[in-house]
Amino acid sequence: MKKFLSLTFISLCAVLPLMAQGDSLDFLRSTGKIYSVVIVIAVIFIGITILLYRLDRKLTKLENQIKNEQ
């Protein structure tokens, strides 16, 4: 649960500042709104990276556990 909440939160944090009102929005809307596609791909990439990071940490913990027993 915590994982998915943090995942949502971090992804939103990455995206929201890019989409703030004003000049940056005009920039994002240029070239036929192609930057929405860029953000969508970035969200998927960030999400998968978070999953890998968390899995990495869990595996490290397990590895240490096994090492301590030996």
Binding site: R29, V40, L51, I66
Partner: protein
């Protein structure tokens, strides 16, 4: 190394979708026509702004104002300003073939580089004398014989523009989520039948990655909505129902995290995941179809057909579903292997 090919396959297919989906251009279209209204019997020049058009590179540019299937007028003068801007002059006839005071006209532009493209209801013509019906001036426009252009291009839709490429990611994510959740519920049923803990682990892992895809789907949909509907969240049925479905699935994660007794946790979560999947189908497929929705395919209009998903989009949309499902299975497999290992360590400690 068991079954490594499908992992590489998933990654390669996704690479194909990424490259093809981003590189292939959008068809030309018309973004704005000013002024947007005209009176009968006047000569009027419209400033037309296009997207991805090549007015200057084209040798022969033609334009028509079309009233209906047999009535149209052709432009009397065409002046190219830039590749994406041109001025079309029309002399609107005094009499219209229909008895209406205001008549919408579609602008059709054709050139040998871009082919033909249309802006429906581009201009509203006000008819001064709507009782005098005559279609004579509308019949000799020579409309037809459009240029044929080779090569694949994605369809141009107003407002959507380049964001139509999100079809390959946002929509494919939901389809892939469904595949993963179906596998999850299959293993939940298998667990209840056999009582084998391996099915519990598999069911949980596939459900977790499925839920992750669902969360991605909500976020990417929100981003897309900001660009096209100008808001992160609307009260659209499909959005709210999907959010409810995702909350039901998030409760599944809470349920799994709350119990420390392995057998009880496995039985509870297997039954709950069947319930959650059964709830997902009416929430996502049935209820949004019964009312109006901003999503294509709801409120009566068919999705995955016509201009919403034409054959060029299909070329990348279906492979994207397969790729995301394969990558999701890969991630689930990693979770399964981790959980199995953890189980082994726990058993050894006891």
């Amino acid at each position: 190394m068991n079954g490594f090919w499908w992992k590489i396959g998933g990654a390669l297919i996704f690479l194909y979708v990424l490259i093809g989906g981003l590189v292939i251009p959008i068809k030309p279209g018309i973004t704005s026509v000013t002024p947007s209204n005209a009176k009968s019997g006047e000569d009027i020049t419209f400033n037309v702004v296009g997207y991805n058009t090549h007015f200057q590179a084209a040798t022969k540019v033609r334009a028509w104002l079309k009233l209906d299937s047999i009535h149209a007028i052709s432009a009397t003068e065409i002046r190219k300003i830039t590749e994406n801007e041109a001025k079309f002059t029309f002399s609107i006839p005094a009499n219209f073939p229909v008895k209406e005071a205001v008549q919408p006209l579609s602008l059709i532009v054709d050139n040998d580089v871009d082919g033909v493209f249309v802006q429906p209801n581009a201009i509203f013509a006000t008819v001064a004398d709507s009782s005098a019906i005559s279609g004579e001036a509308w019949k000799s426009s020579g409309i037809g014989q459009f240029s044929v252009v080779e090569g694949i291009k994605f369809p141009y839709r107003n407002i959507l523009n380049e964001t139509i490429r999100n079809t390959f990611f946002h929509i494919a994510l939901w389809f892939a989520m469904f595949i993963l959740l179906i596998v999850g519920v299959y293993h939940a049923v298998r667990f209840l039948n056999t009582g084998d803990m391996i099915h519990d682990i598999k069911s949980a892992s596939f459900n977790k990655i499925g839920i992750m895809y669902g969360v991605f789907g909500l976020i990417t949909g929100s981003v897309w909505a900001k660009f096209t509907w100008d808001t992160f969240w609307t009260s659209d049925v499909k959005l709210n129902m999907t959010a409810i479905a995702m909350l039901i699935y998030l409760a599944y994660l809470v349920l799994r995290g709350s119990s420390s007794d392995h057998d009880r946790r496995a039985k509870l979560s297997a039954s709950y995941s069947i319930f959650a999947f059964v709830a997902l189908i009416p929430l996502v497929f049935i209820i949004p179809r019964m009312t109006d929705s901003l999503h294509p395919g709801n409120g009566g209009n068919p999705a995955l057909g016509g201009e919403d998903l034409d054959n060029t989009l299909r070329l990348f949309f279906y492979p994207s579903i397969i790729a995301l499902a394969l990558l999701g299975t890969w991630m689930s497999q990693l979770l399964i292997r981790y959980e199995k290992l953890k189980e082994k360590v726990l058993l050894k400690n006891q």
